[in-house]
């Protein structure tokens, strides 16, 4: 099942109607196989973030079909989409978006609370193992706002991984990081793909980062160029 399709988009259209109708995405179709490490690049305003929000099921205001794990998700209810997001998609944003009210460990465990397949001890153990893999296990009990930017991004990756998702989506994951931290994050991504056979989809501005991925999707004016 090496080349099984993880995510498939079929002729996706999206337009903003306020104040005037602007087509953001026109007739986008592509698919991503399991184990792929894909980056989406393009100039600002080409619609790559919009595309990410659509394929991450957060934005359901579009036409076309979206299949995740060969399951049609277009037109599902908000509750079902939330469940799919929780189970199959891990998120890393440009800004870390950790919850300051919780410790690092709790932040990582949070999506697991919703998933609710593991006992709390197991979940905690799993979260700790993830932090260990990312080399930040000593931060586990610190409050989230007390750690540095690079560390926060790694915590965010651990959080994205907690439910063992099918696909990891990242929106400018290194946009806010210096080159050293960017390298660390890239290495982590690489390892996730190579050792854990995860599927990665990264939206990025960073050409050098994009070039190191297995496949680059270049977008311009709401279309895919290559």
């Amino acid at each position: 099942m090496e080349n099984k399709i993880a995510l498939e988009a079929k002729s996706i259209f999206k337009s903003f109607c306020d104040p005037v109708k602007i087509d953001v995405l026109t007739d986008l179709s592509f698919s991503i196989n399991r184990g792929d490490f894909v980056s989406i690049t393009g100039k600002s305003g080409c619609g790559k973030s919009t595309l990410l929000y659509i394929i991450s099921t957060m934005d359901s205001d579009y036409t076309g079909e979206l299949l995740i794990d060969c399951e049609l998700v277009s037109g599902k209810s908000e509750k079902e989409l939330a469940f799919i997001r929780n189970e199959k998609i891990g998120f890393v944003f440009q800004f870390h978006y950790l919850l300051n009210e919780f410790s690092v460990l709790r932040n990582v465990m949070l999506p697991g609370f919703k998933y609710n397949r593991l006992l709390e001890e197991e979940l905690e153990h799993r979260a700790f193992e993830l932090l260990k893999k990312l080399g930040i296990e000593k931060l586990a009990n610190k409050m989230a706002y007390k750690i540095s930017g690079g560390e926060k991004q790694r915590v965010a990756i651990a959080r994205a991984m907690i439910n063992d998702p099918l696909i990891l989506m990242c929106d400018e994951p290194t946009g806010n990081l210096d080159s050293k931290n960017t390298e660390i994050v890239f290495d982590i991504f690489n390892e996730l793909v190579d050792s854990f056979n995860k599927t990665l989809l990264v939206v990025t501005h960073d050409q050098s980062f994009a070039e190191k991925t297995h496949r680059i999707i270049v977008m311009e004016d709401g279309r895919i160029l290559n």
């Binding site: 939330a82 189970e87 998120f91 440009q94 999506p111 919703k114 439910n163």
Partner: protein, 419 residues
């Protein structure tokens, strides 16, 4: 999604804005506390004021009413049976005021297990002689022991021993108003003229104060035997039988029953004192209305604070949603926050309300019109506490529900994109 984790997140959000949370909770606490104190105080006063009259009013009074016979001679004549007979200006016959067969009635009443106690009574119209002046008076002949047991007679006798009424013949306990007018002291002999024109000397052995000044200007108490003597009647002459029931609410039904059974007039307390019920319930409604307004105001406070919290925590909501929390989960979290504030505030409020009640209860309150009371009356009924807590929790639930719905419909894309 386990409730435990909803709690966990809700608690963390609460703690993050601890001061605001506290302000909201204190709002609930105070409104619950004032609700309880207000209603407890109001009900305490209600009971006290009603008690002034109701405690001394028999639940059922048996007596012979003066009324026209419903069977007039013409009705007995078969020749006029088919006619409408108009008789004007009918007068009652010279019927006896006393109750027939009183001993048997009292014996029968004492075996009825719905009856708490029975007190016979004789009333005599009389004049108190004060030099040339005659003061109108009403002298009650009572069975001292029963009167005290059923109607707290001894509470109202503020000078002298009420038992002396029974132990010493020709003794009288004067109403305070009468005593003041006559300048009577304990041990004085006073002159009383009955409506038959006979004069008696009675020894003053005490004074009583009912709390209703109008009554005290007229009424006095003597023993049954003395009163019968005043009227020149034998010792089986009883004009009223006062009955106290175990359940006051049954009075109208039982009164009807006795009316049938003893062929006598029976008046129940509800008919005789309907206005007290009305007054009490109106006061209770007013205090409930004020209390509930307090709670609703507290609810608006919570609404405001949760709304602010949602604006502050947009990022948190967005990330929760992005990582797979559904709108329903987010709503649950915010409703939990609101209920947490409500519960905490309400429980603290119940305690504070109890404290306020105790405080009010210890404020000195000396009123000449209310005997036997030296602090403000407070009712500690559990119902006020439960109503306040339930209503507070319900208010906070609704106050939280609207902001929670708003939070649940936050679009994570908009928040994340905005960065």
């Amino acid at each position: 999604m386990k409730n435990k984790h909803i709690f966990l997140i809700a608690r963390a959000l609460l703690m993050a804005r601890f001061k605001q949370t506290l302000v909201a909770a204190v709002g609930v606490t105070f409104s619950v506390a004032f609700f309880i104190a207000l209603l407890g105080f109001m009900e305490g006063l209600n009971k006290l004021l009603d008690g002034l009259v109701l405690n001394r009013t028999p639940h059922i009074r048996l007596y012979n009413d003066i009324q026209q016979s419903s069977m007039q001679p013409i009705d007995l004549d078969t020749a006029y049976n088919d006619y409408h007979n108009f008789i004007s200006s009918i007068k009652p016959t010279n019927s006896r005021k006393e109750i027939y067969n009183v001993e048997h009635i009292i014996k029968k009443l004492n075996t009825d297990n719905r009856v708490y106690g029975v007190a016979p009574k004789v009333t005599a119209q009389a004049f108190y002689n004060l030099g040339n002046i005659e003061l109108n008076g009403l002298i009650n002949g009572v069975d001292v022991v029963q009167e005290s047991k059923l109607f707290n007679f001894k509470e109202y006798v503020f000078e002298g021993n009420y038992m002396d009424l029974q132990n010493r013949s020709n003794s009288i306990i004067l109403g305070q108003g009468v005593a003041d007018k006559m300048l009577a002291k304990k041990g004085d002999l006073i002159q009383v003229t009955t409506i038959n024109g006979e004069q008696f000397s009675l020894k003053v052995i005490g004074f009583f104060r009912s709390g209703i000044a109008e009554l005290d200007k007229v009424q006095s108490y003597v023993s049954l035997a003395t009163c019968q003597k005043l009227l020149g009647k034998p010792n089986n002459y009883i004009s009223d039988i006062q009955i106290k029931l175990n359940e006051m609410g049954q009075a109208p039904v039982i009164a009807r029953e006795y009316e049938q059974l003893f062929r006598i007039n029976a008046e129940d307390i509800q008919t005789a004192n309907a206005q007290f019920e009305t007054g009490s319930s109106a006061r209770t409604i007013i205090s409930f209305a004020v209390g509930i307004v307090l709670l609703i105001v507290a609810g608006f406070g919570i609404y405001n604070i949760l709304n602010m919290m949602i604006y502050e925590k947009m990022d948190t909501i967005a990330i929760l949603k992005a990582t797979g929390f559904s709108g329903a989960d987010v709503k649950k979290i915010f409703v939990t926050i609101s209920l947490g504030i409500g519960f905490g505030g309400a429980l603290a409020g119940a305690l504070l309300g109890l404290f306020f009640s105790v405080l009010i209860d210890s404020i000195p309150f000396n009123s000449t019109s209310v005997p036997g009371v030296d602090t403000y009356p407070v009712d500690y009924g559990i119902q006020y506490y439960s109503i306040a807590v339930v209503f507070a929790v319900a208010t906070t639930y609704f106050a939280g529900w609207f902001p929670a719905r708003k939070a649940s419909s936050v679009d994570p894309v908009e928040i994340i994109r905005g960065k």
